[in-house]
């Protein structure tokens, strides 16, 4: 069965493109436009992996990681963070909050795909 990925991104153009790319690579993709919607989608669908932006309206990526860590079922789902911020403290904060990986924008899909495969293999 193909892995199901929840993609959380508030920029519609990027969300649509990444969804198409993931689907072309045989992943099943569900999407959310902000952290709050992402959280409820995650609880409802329990995806195999989540890819989330950090700076979004409502719940941001850091808060999302906290909520996942506190939840009995969501804590088992790997979360990959994508962000334009490349400062050490941003990356460290995300990893300390339990992110399975951190990709700095812009990135090429090959790097995202590597991280997806690594995170899915681990969990």
């Amino acid at each position: 069965m193909n892995a199901r990925i929840l993609l959380i991104e508030d920029k519609a153009g990027l969300l649509e493109t990444l969804k198409s790319l993931l689907e072309l690579h045989d992943y099943s993709v569900i999407t959310a436009r902000n952290g709050e919607e992402g959280l409820s989608m995650a609880i409802q669908h329990l995806p195999d992996l989540v890819i989330s932006d950090i700076y979004m309206p409502a719940i941001n990526g850091y808060e999302l990681l906290d909520r996942f860590r506190e939840h009995a079922q969501l804590c088992k789902i790997p979360v990959l963070i994508t962000s334009a911020k490349k400062e050490d403290n941003e990356i460290k904060d995300a990893m300390q909050k339990g992110a399975a990986g951190y990709l700095v924008k812009p990135f090429v899909f090959a790097h995202l795909h590597e991280q997806i495969k690594k995170a899915l293999a681990k969990h």
């Binding site: 990027l14 790319l21 072309l24 812009p106």
Partner: protein, 267 residues
């Protein structure tokens, strides 16, 4: 070969390199004599620049993703040709050049506004070079990347991970930009008390008259006409090398190539 040495001992304030330090001081002196309104304006301008540069990153990611989407679709449908492959790869490569310019602008903005933070930790330099090797493999038109040669027993240095990555990215990126026949080479020589990192290319070289000015902001070599660049990359390298208590030196010969050497003492 002509050479120049730029150690942190020549700098009166660790972490800030020569001219850029004078510029930062000038900005701060201006600030101290201006009203709080003009200080706020300067600070706002710096914030606007930082926010705008960050906002650019999302459309850049969308464009690289669209290129990846088109490449994948062309491959899946067996329509990919060397022509499409070459030019799609050029779009990605140009996007990353643009991104690099944005990063340089952001970094200089942070240096001048005094908001650069150097969070040091123990790290293996090799761990920061391997991802770069993969990155250059993905970004160069012909999938070329650089060689890493190591001598001695690897030891950790005490430095900021993001600044070490930035130093290596800038120097390797320059080496690719100016090299001609062969890919650049990177050497890590683990000595008794320090690590020497050497980045060498067989490129156009740097005229002797340019060497003393190489690390000044916006300075570009007299033989770099027609080659893209902001003239900020080496200023950032010098500033970060100093901030991490390292030394940098350069030797170069026009039409033969350039060698940058970084030295970091073990903690």
């Amino acid at each position: 070969m002509s050479g120049q040495h730029f150690g942190n001992s020549t700098c009166c304030v660790p972490g800030i390199g020569d001219k850029i330090f004078r510029q930062a001081l000038k900005v701060r002196t201006m600030n101290s004599t201006h009203t709080s309104e003009s200080n706020a304006l300067l600070s706002n301008a710096s914030n606007v620049l930082a926010i705008t540069a960050h906002e650019f990153k999302t459309p850049l990611t969308t464009i690289t993703s669209i290129v990846d989407l088109l490449s994948t679709k062309l491959q899946t449908d067996h329509h990919m040709t060397p022509f499409y492959e070459k030019h799609l790869s050029r779009i990605t490569s140009e996007i990353f050049s643009l991104n690099n310019m944005l990063d340089e602008m952001l970094t200089i903005n942070n240096i001048l506004s005094g908001s650069i933070e150097t969070r040091k930790e123990l790290l293996y330099v090799e761990e920061h070079l391997v991802p770069l090797k993969e990155q250059f493999h993905s970004l160069t038109d012909d999938g070329e990347t650089f060689e890493i040669n190591i001598s001695g027993t690897p030891r950790k240095i005490f430095a900021s991970p993001s600044q070490i990555t930035r130093i290596l990215t800038n120097l390797v990126s320059n080496a690719f930009k100016y090299s001609r026949q062969h890919a650049p080479s990177v050497r890590l020589d683990y000595g008794d008390s320090s690590l020497a990192i050497t980045i060498a290319d067989d490129g156009i070289g740097i005229p002797a008259g340019d060497l003393p000015h190489l690390f000044q902001p916006y300075y570009r070599g007299s033989n770099t006409n027609g080659i893209a660049g902001t003239g900020l990359g080496l200023t950032i390298v010098k500033t970060f090398v100093s901030a991490n208590d390292g030394d940098i030196s350069v030797t170069s010969e026009p039409e033969k190539g350039t060698v940058f050497t970084l030295v970091f003492r073990y903690p």
